[in-house]
Symmetry: C2
Subunit: 200 residues, 2 copies
């Protein structure tokens, strides 16, 4: 696990408290296919509206398909490439915009895909991996490069690998690996019956 | 836990395998506030784009604010009211459409809120509760009734309570409490480098 659990105000399961988004990844250690499959399997069992399962994942493994992996890495924003290039695995989370059962708009496609990817993220951290989701990539280029259909929306690129050395990160990214983890207070996030009435 | 774990093709953490969306809820047993707070705390520690934390939760407790709870229950689609009315707790998950840091559109508001709610869901099941998300409710009515601002989008109503008797559910909802749990095969959900190329 991460050794950097959230300091929570109320008890939560360790798998949730210990999930975070590290950046230091070992460039030389591949990720076993079985671990990648367990992450995807965790995503598979998420809940979804009408059980439609609107999530899809594209997976690149630098140790298996280095050219294809390079296409995916080059699709990342420069700021993300700066730290994420050591990742042996990149995964793109894609959300359906329509229901597979009837082709009608699916208002929950992105919401449900976020849920599935949280399962994937938790499972990865549980297996001793660094998992870090990124919004900084080019979704239009990804769509044409990787053949993503019009009724699916690329949502997040995900860097996956074994933990590496913080000292090997670019300087601007080193502090965040040990800075205190912070969140808004619950009073700003949870309300009692109507907006802005704090629950507690 | 649920006693109805997913039959997974690859190993996943028990908290993920044992999460499901039951419907039979005990109408007479309140949910301790501390458990509700642990669920919300689990949501709080989810990842989000730029750490913006776009999720908000409205909470109703039938044993504390029965009139307010009734407003929330009446907002559910009829098919959901049929089984969800025993719930002591209803929670509405709401997603920001803009970043709180700069007011610009947040393309990940719903995705991140889905992730946070998956944490909430997992934590609830871990605490021995039934948790069931519903898309069937009236988001426009919810917006005006509960004072939800224009730059937030109501996403899911969530029924929470202790497990009840399956025999007390309306007849059409009883079978699903014990039917085999199913998902699409991983080959339809996870691809190797480009769309529709199965990973395995």
């Amino acid at each position: 696990m991460s050794g950097r659990p959230a300091i929570t105000d109320h008890p939560v399961h360790p798998i949730i408290a210990e999930r975070w988004s590290a950046r230091a990844i070992d460039p030389d250690r591949p990720v076993e296919r079985e671990k990648v499959l367990s992450m995807l399997e965790a995503a598979r069992w998420a809940p979804s509206c009408f059980g439609d399962q609107p999530w899809r994942y594209l997976v690149w493994d630098r140790f298996e398909d280095s050219e294809a992996w390079e296409q995916a890495a080059a699709n990342l924003a420069e700021g993300n490439q700066a730290w994420a290039r050591p990742s042996p695995i990149l995964i793109l989370a894609v959300a359906a915009t329509t229901f597979s059962r009837n082709g009608k708009p699916n208002r929950w496609g992105q919401y449900d895909t976020g849920a599935a990817t949280e399962n994937l993220h938790l499972q990865g951290v549980e297996l001793g991996l660094v998992v870090h989701q990124m919004g900084g990539f080019d979704p239009d280029a990804a769509r044409s490069l990787f053949g993503i259909p019009d009724d699916f929306e690329p949502m997040a690129m995900i860097a996956v690998g074994y933990p590496g050395q913080v000292a090997d990160l670019p300087e601007g990214y080193q502090d965040s690996e040990s800075a205190p983890r912070q969140r808004k207070p619950l009073a700003e996030l949870a309300f009692r019956g109507s907006w802005d009435t704090p629950l507690t």
